[in-house]
């Protein structure tokens, strides 16, 4: 009885989470330019239009480029910071860590408005590269969490052994530490990448009028004229997110990354 209830609860939640996505996936199959569901006539044209339509394709390319560079910046900031916190005793360094976490904990509109104020004041407002930096800062917390976790899993005796053999920090980093934390670095990059792809408000307040990313383009389409392409691209984004997190789970330990204690943990 209670097993049945549990199962029904899970099914309900799965429906709740999946239903909006199923509907937009269906809407994008419409034959004509309409958002009817169930779709009237079947056609894969709208799915293809994400890649064939020049405007959507360029937005897609923009989004991917921004997300990849921004995620790289996030990792470039988080990795040395996490290493320093792990290697050194410096209480003040935790202050830098807290600043790294803040953009993610505070409402996003604050980071967005801060970015807008900053780029407008420095005269770079609207430059395509500003969003890359602002996103890079906005998502630092994700690789910071995963990489810090990665360092915590390193057995300090292994490092001790390396040092006794005469390795300095640089050699240790290359031969011991980095190979151990690599999966955590990659998942941090993956999290930042997917979130940057989907981010709207910071993108809008930095380059909203000069560069179209997919979320900005979907929002504009929402205001100034629906097209099933926006549904198709949304479905595509869901698949990308699920695919990336699936890979993270395949090559890493997802429950552990998300804070569960798995068997073999010491503390």
């Amino acid at each position: 009885m209670s097993k049945l209830l549990t199962r029904m609860f899970f099914v309900c939640m799965a429906l709740f989470l999946a239903l909006p996505i199923v509907v937009i996936a269906g809407v994008a199959l419409n034959d004509k330019k309409t958002l009817a569901f169930p779709p009237q006539g079947l056609s894969a044209d709208w799915y293809l239009s994400v890649f064939t339509d020049a405007a959507w394709r360029s937005a897609l390319v923009n989004s991917v480029l921004v997300a990849a560079t921004a995620a790289a910046i996030s990792v470039a900031i988080a990795l040395p910071l996490a290493w320093f916190l792990w290697r050194r005793v410096a209480p003040w360094a935790q202050f830098v860590q807290v600043i790294g976490f803040s953009p993610f904990i505070l409402p996003p509109v604050i980071t967005a408005l801060g970015a807008l104020s900053f780029w407008a004041t420095t005269g770079f407002y609207g430059q395509p590269w500003t969003i890359v930096i602002s996103h890079g800062i906005f998502f630092v917390s994700l690789p910071l969490v995963t990489i810090t976790l990665g360092f915590a899993t390193i057995d300090r005796e292994v490092i001790e052994a390396g040092m006794t053999m005469g390795a300095d920090d640089k050699i240790l980093m290359k031969t011991v530490i980095f190979p151990l934390i690599r999966p955590y670095v990659i998942s941090g990059f993956a999290f930042a990448f997917v979130l940057s792809l989907n981010e709207y408000i910071v993108a809008y307040m930095t380059v909203g009028f000069t560069l179209e990313t997919i979320p900005i383009k979907v929002f504009n389409a929402l205001r100034y004229g629906y097209t099933p392409t926006m549904a198709a691209v949304s479905v595509f984004f869901v698949l990308v997110a699920v695919g990336v997190f699936g890979l993270v789970a395949r090559f890493g330990d997802l429950p552990k990354l998300l804070g569960a204690w798995s068997e073999g943990d010491e503390t």
Binding site: V27, L35, F104, L106, M205, I216, F237, F245
Partner: protein
């Protein structure tokens, strides 16, 4: 290996880059925003240096009061609903086989990372008259003709719960997965039904976590900037929407900045409260 304090100047190099990046591109922008909040707005959408609290004085208007009350009320409601569903869900999730857990976690992360634009669009389609759920109900025979359920308060609430639910589960997940299973076993051995053991043993043991999670999800819901705009009417706008609106469409940066500063203070106070409750740092796991 023993951790050692940095001794030579070169030891500080690794933290220099992160500190400079965060300082220049987060702390300075933040400071500029605070400065703008006391600037004066001039004609044409610009502002000039001044030192005035006029932007903050606008908080005292009934309009702002109404938006603030609505935002806080809505965030509290979203958080409550998310916990109500999320707590039993997370508990059952952590009892699943590991493989199944991973599948659920991937799905939750997938929804969590979805753009607010996409969530808003998907729900506005799902609740619309032409493509919506009501068609399904008509087909089953529950309703006479399809209806539009958006824009409206229920649509805003549903959209926000959809967005915040995965977040709630992921915040609760570490605590529930570390919950000692023997607690439940003991209660069951002593003759409790599973539901009763959950209510009388698990929930009280998790009291602090639940309260802290409520606050964390509350802040998350407070940050929603698009869903109230896409799924609601102007009276359903929240503080975050208002900040965007003032900054972009009304070109009133000083007032937008003042409201943002207010949001920061409110959020920080809440974060502090949640830390005080759990007595540890970093309650937000994601």
């Amino acid at each position: 290996m023993r951790r050692s304090p940095p001794q030579k100047p070169v030891d500080y190099l690794p933290i220099a880059f992160p500190a400079i990046m965060l300082g220049v591109f987060f702390v300075i922008p933040f400071a500029i925003m605070v400065a703008i909040s006391v600037f004066e707005r001039v004609q044409g959408g610009f502002y000039e240096p001044a030192f005035t609290f006029a932007n903050y004085a606008r908080f005292l208007t009934p309009f702002f009061g109404k938006v603030l009350a609505f935002s806080l009320g809505l965030a509290a409601l979203v958080s409550a609903v998310c916990l109500l569903i999320g707590v039993p869900f997370t508990y059952m999730l952590t009892r699943l086989r590991r493989g199944k857990q991973v599948v659920w976690l991937i799905a939750l992360l997938g929804v969590l990372s979805l753009s607010e634009v996409i969530i808003g669009f998907a729900w506005s389609t799902l609740l619309s008259r032409t493509a919506g759920l009501s068609n399904l109900f008509v087909w089953v025979g529950l309703m006479e003709r399809p209806e539009a359920w958006t824009p409206g308060f229920a649509a805003v609430l549903t959209g926000l719960v959809y967005q915040a639910f995965p977040y709630t589960v992921l915040v609760l997940y570490p605590a529930f997965s570390r919950l000692d299973p023997s607690l439940m076993e003991a209660a069951r051995t002593l003759g409790c039904s599973p539901a009763r053991a959950f209510a009388n043993v698990v929930l009280p043991a998790m009291r602090k976590t639940l309260l802290a999670t409520f606050i964390i999800v509350f802040i998350f819901a407070l940050g929603a900037y698009l869903l109230p705009q896409i799924l609601g009417r102007p009276q359903h706008w929240t503080l975050s929407v208002l900040v965007t609106d003032q900054a972009i469409y009304q070109s009133n940066m000083p007032f937008a900045a003042a409201m943002a500063v207010f949001l920061v203070v409110a959020s920080l106070a809440l974060v502090g409260l949640s830390m005080a409750i759990t007595g540890r740092k970093g309650a937000a796991g994601v």
